[in-house]
Point group: D2
C-alpha cells in the first residue's frame, strides 16, 4: 500500500513471516492482519501489533465474578450480550490490544483525550518529522454547518474547493520549507548551509501545522476501546477521526466477534431514553396525542426523541 | 499441588495441553509455567493466564518515542536500564499480564488499593464461598512490634503460639458453621433444615472473617506491576502480601528478564537520597565530621541515612 | 445522633463553628450540612468534609470547550441537561467533593471497585478497630431470591428471623473477644494478661468478620460520583450500599441541584434501548402486533423491554 | 498585564471582588492570587480558579490511615516530610486544585500526557482561534544540542537569530491569513467574500502551526501535580513547559508550603541512587579507590553518579 515506504514494508513483511507456538488462546482472524498497515486517510494507517484475550476471556472473567452459580443457565453469547446491555463493563477489560497508528496531529489531539490507555508517541524533540501532511479529498471539503455549531455543512464546489485545497497544500509545503531551513538540515540529513548551527528540533517543529502526521503505539483494553469507538465511530465525530474508528471497528469484529455484535446492537445503534422520554413513549403506545407542549420535555429533547422514533 | 482440588487441576492440565501457532512474540520461559498454580500461603496461589509483550516490546515502544535518532547508540539492555533509572515509565506500560490469584480477604483489601489494574472477583453475592481460611504457620505468629507502629516483633513461643493458633482456627471454623446455618445449605449444596428459607448469600457472607480466601483475575501493565512489587515485595509490606509479591517477582524475571534486572538494581535495592542527604554524603566524602546536629537533617531522616550508609 | 460518641460530636461541632471568608464560589445549602454526620445503617455515616465547584462551574468548563460560540443560545440549565443527555462527561469532572464515610467492610469492598477516586482508610495494622459491627434490622433479613441469582427474596419471619439475628450477633461478639484475646489488650488499652506479648495487630484483625465497620476519606469528582450513584443507588445494588448511595444523592442535590435533576431524569430513571429494541418500539407505535418470536430479540431482552414499556 | 485583553481583565476583576463566608478551610496566601492571570511566555498564563485542602488536610488524611496510634509522636511537618520521603502518596491526593491555562499547542501536547487530571479545552471545532502564536525571545533561540539528543545547545547569534525569528513570525502570520481565508471570515466575525461559504472550522484549523495558543481548565490533585512538577520543572524538560511548571511551583508554595518544602528537599533536589551505586558510595566512604572499571556500573551510570557526587 502507498502509505508505507519500501523499508517499512520490508520490516512488516519480516515480522509477519515469524511463527511461534504458544499455549495462549489465539484468534486466527486477527492473526491474519497482524502487523499489516490498514490505510486510513492519505498517509495514515492502523496496525495491530499485539493482543490478548478473545470472546472466551470475557466469559471466563465474568464467570469468576459470578462463580459456579450461572454456569449452566447462560451460554456464552447470551452472557456477553447481558453484560453489554447492563454495562457490566469489567469483564471486557480483560482483553487488551496494542495498535500502531499514524495520524494527523489534530486527530491525535482528540484521540489523546481518552485517558485510560497507554501511549508512546514519536518525538519531534529527538527526531525530524517526515514531510507528510493531510489534505482532505474534495468530497470532504465541507463548509461550516449552519445548523450545528461544530459540524460540517454542504460541500465546497468547483473553484471554491480548488482554492481551498491549494491554500492548504501551499501553506503546508511552505511550513516544511521553513522547518528545514530552521533546522538547517533536510529530512534526508543533508546540511543546507554548511558551518551554520540549526535551530533545536524541539523549537523548529513548532512551525508545522496540525495537519502534519505523527505516530504512536496505543494500547488499550477492550472496554475502553469500545467506549472510544462509541464516541469516535459516531456520526457526530469529526470525519478525520471517524475513519480511524471505523477501521478499528473492523479489527474488533475480527478479534471478538460476539462482543462486537453486542456492542453494535446495544451501544452503536442503541438510544438512551430519559425517564420523561419513556413516559412519552408509553403515552404514545396508549394511543394518546402527545405534543411537545404537553410532553414535559424541552424543545431540543423533544425533537431528538421524535427523530429517534421517526415521527 | 495441594492448593487445588482434582477438578481444578484437571482443568489446568487441559489448558496447558493446548498449543497454537501465533505471529505474536512469545516468551518460552513464561509459557513453561502458563496456567500452572504457583502455591502461596496455605490455600492461595498465583497463576499466569495470559500476557503480551517482552523486553523487546519495551525497546520498540521507546524507539517510537525516540525515533530513529538513537537506534545506533544504545543496545537494548542499556536503553532499558536508562529508562528505568530515569523513571521513563511509559514504555514499560506496553507489556501486559493477566493473573488468577487466590488470596485471603485481608490481603485482597491491601492489593486492591493499586487502582491502575483490571479486576474480576469471585462474588459471594452469587455463589457460596469455600471453607478455606488462612492460618499463619507458627514461624509467622509475631507479636506487635514495639519499635514500629505497624510491624511485627518477636515470635510468639510455645503455649502462647498454640493458644493463638487455636483461637484463630476455632473462630474461623465457627464462622463457617454459622455461615452454612444462615444459608440453611452446606457448601456441597445440601439443605440443612428442609422447608426453611436460607438467608440471602449477600447477607450470610458478612459473618466470615477476613482470613477467608477469595479469588480474582487481575490484569495489569508491567509499569504498574513493578510499582506494586516495589511496595509489596518490600520489607515494610505485611508478610502475607509480600509472599505473593515475591512469587510474582519470579514470574516477571521469566517474562522480561532485562527489565526485571534493571528494576532490582534501581528500584528494589535503590535508595532515594534527599538534597540535604546528598549534601551530607558529599561532606562525608570530603572527610568532614558530620553529626545529626550539624547535618541539617531531622533525627529520623539522619537515622535512616546512616542505616543506608551502614555507619 | 447515636452513630457518634461524645468526643467525635464535639470535634465536629468545633469544625462547624469555624467561619472564613473566601473568593471561591460557595454553596450555602451544602455548607449547612458540612462536617455533620448523616447516619446510615446502625453505626455508619457519611460526612461532607470539603467540596469545590457548583452548577456554574460545570457551565464554565463546558463554555471553555465550546468557546464563545454557544454563549447566547443556551441557558445554563439547558446546557447542563444537554451535556448529561449526550454523556459529555468532562465538564462534570470539574466539581470535586471529599467525604468521610464509616461503613461495614463488606460494603467497603464493593465501594472500592470504583477506581477513579482517592481513598485514605483507617488502618488496622496501626490501630485497634472499635467493637462495632453491622446487624441488619429485621426488615432486611431476606432469604435468597429464587428468581435472581444475586438478589434477596422474601423476608425471614418470626423465629427464623430471630435465630438468624442471634447467630450474626453472637458470632460477631465472639470474634471481637478473640481479637482482644489475641492482642492481649482491650479496646480501651488495658493489658489482659500482664507480662504476655500480644499478637501483631495486622494479624489479629484477620479474625474480624466483614460486617465490622471501617472508615475512610473518599474524594471523587462529580462525574465519577454520579457513575457510582447510578450503579449503587439502583434497585439492583445490595441494600447495605444502596442506603449510602441514597444519602449521597441528597448531598448532591444540595450541592449541584441542576446537575442532579438532569442525572435523575436521564440516568437514574432513564433506559438504554438497543437498536433492535427501538425497532420493536417503532413497530408497536405503527400498530403492529409484535411478539418475542417475531421481534428479533432474545427472550430475556424481550422480557426486560416489555417490563420497561409496562406491557 | 499584557497577556489579557480589557474584557478578560474586567471579568477577572469582577470574580476577584466577590466574597463569601465558608466553613471550609481557606488558604489566605492562595486567595490573594485567586483568578489572577500569572503571565507565562508571550501570550500565556496560569490562573488558579478553585482549590480545596491545605497542609492540614494531608495530615488529617494520613491520621485516618494511621489512626490514633501516631497522633502524639509526630508533629505535622515531620509527618508530611515522612510521607514524602517514603512516597506514601495517597494523603497528598486529598488536596485538589483547578487551573485555567493558556499555552501553545506544542506545550499542551506534552502536558496532556499526564493522564490523571481533568481537562476541558477550548474547541476549535466550535470557535475561531485567536491570532496568538508563540515566538521565542532571542535568549531561547538555541541550536540543537550536540551532546544530548533532545536538548538545546548554544544560542543562535546575530543574523542567524534574526533570520530564525523572522521565519517563525512570517510563517505563523501567513498561516493565520490562510486560516481566515479558508473560513472566509476574520476573527472579529467579518465575512471576507460575501456570498461564499467558508470551510468548516474543524477543517480550517488544521493549517495553524503548533505554536498557536490554546487554553483549558485543568484540575488535578496535589500528588499528581507534584509528579507533573517533578518532571516538568526539571532541567531536562523543554524550556517552554518548564516556565509553566515553575510558575505553578510558586502557586503550590502558597497553597501547601510544608508539602512544597518537603517536595523540594526529597523530590526536586533529591537523587535516586541504585543498589550498585550505593555500594560505590560506601566503598568511597571507606577510602577505597573506585574506578568505573571496578565499580560494576555502566559507563553512563558511572558518569551520572560522579556528577551527582561532584567528583
Amino acid at each position: 500500500m502507498s502509505n508505507l515506504n519500501a523499508e517499512q514494508q520490508a520490516e512488516i513483511d519480516a515480522a509477519r513471516a515469524a511463527q511461534a507456538t504458544t499455549r495462549r488462546p489465539t484468534v486466527p482472524a486477527l492473526e491474519e492482519i497482524l502487523y499489516s498497515a490498514l490505510p486510513v486517510l492519505d498517509h495514515g494507517f492502523v496496525r495491530v501489533i499485539d493482543y490478548f484475550g478473545d470472546d472466551a476471556a470475557i466469559v471466563q472473567a465474568a464467570r469468576v465474578s459470578y462463580g459456579k452459580g450461572t454456569k449452566k443457565v447462560s451460554d456464552d453469547r447470551n452472557l456477553i450480550r447481558y453484560l453489554m446491555r447492563h454495562r457490566h463493563s469489567t469483564p471486557f477489560e480483560m482483553c487488551e490490544i496494542k495498535l500502531h497508528v499514524k495520524l494527523p496531529i489534530f486527530v491525535a489531539r482528540q484521540w489523546i483525550r481518552h485517558r485510560t490507555a497507554n501511549v508512546n508517541e514519536y518525538s519531534a524533540r529527538y527526531s525530524i518529522l517526515d514531510r507528510e501532511f493531510y489534505v482532505p479529498v474534495p468530497g470532504q471539503l465541507a463548509a461550516q454547518s449552519t445548523a450545528n455549531r461544530q459540524g460540517r455543512g454542504d460541500l465546497l464546489q468547483g473553484a471554491d474547493a480548488e482554492k481551498a485545497l491549494s491554500a492548504i497544500e501551499n501553506l503546508s509545503a511552505e511550513a516544511y520549507r521553513v522547518y528545514e531551513e530552521l533546522l538547517n538540515e533536510t529530512r534526508d540529513g543533508t546540511t543546507i548551509v554548511p558551518g551554520k548551527p540549526g535551530l533545536a528540533r524541539e523549537l523548529a517543529r513548532m512551525t508545522l501545522p496540525t495537519n502534519y502526521y505523527t505516530q504512536w503505539y496505543w494500547k488499550v483494553d477492550l472496554n475502553n476501546l469500545l467506549h472510544f469507538l462509541s464516541l469516535r465511530a459516531d456520526a457526530h465525530a469529526q470525519y478525520e477521526i471517524r475513519v480511524y474508528a471505523e477501521e478499528i471497528c473492523k479489527v474488533v469484529e475480527r478479534w471478538c466477534p460476539i462482543a462486537f455484535e453486542a456492542f453494535r446492537d446495544y451501544r452503536m445503534t442503541g438510544t438512551a431514553v430519559s425517564g420523561p422520554g419513556m413516559a412519552v413513549i408509553k403515552r404514545l403506545l396508549a394511543g394518546e396525542n402527545v405534543t411537545q407542549e404537553n410532553s414535559g420535555l424541552g424543545k431540543r429533547e423533544w425533537t431528538e426523541l421524535m427523530a429517534t422514533l421517526e415521527r
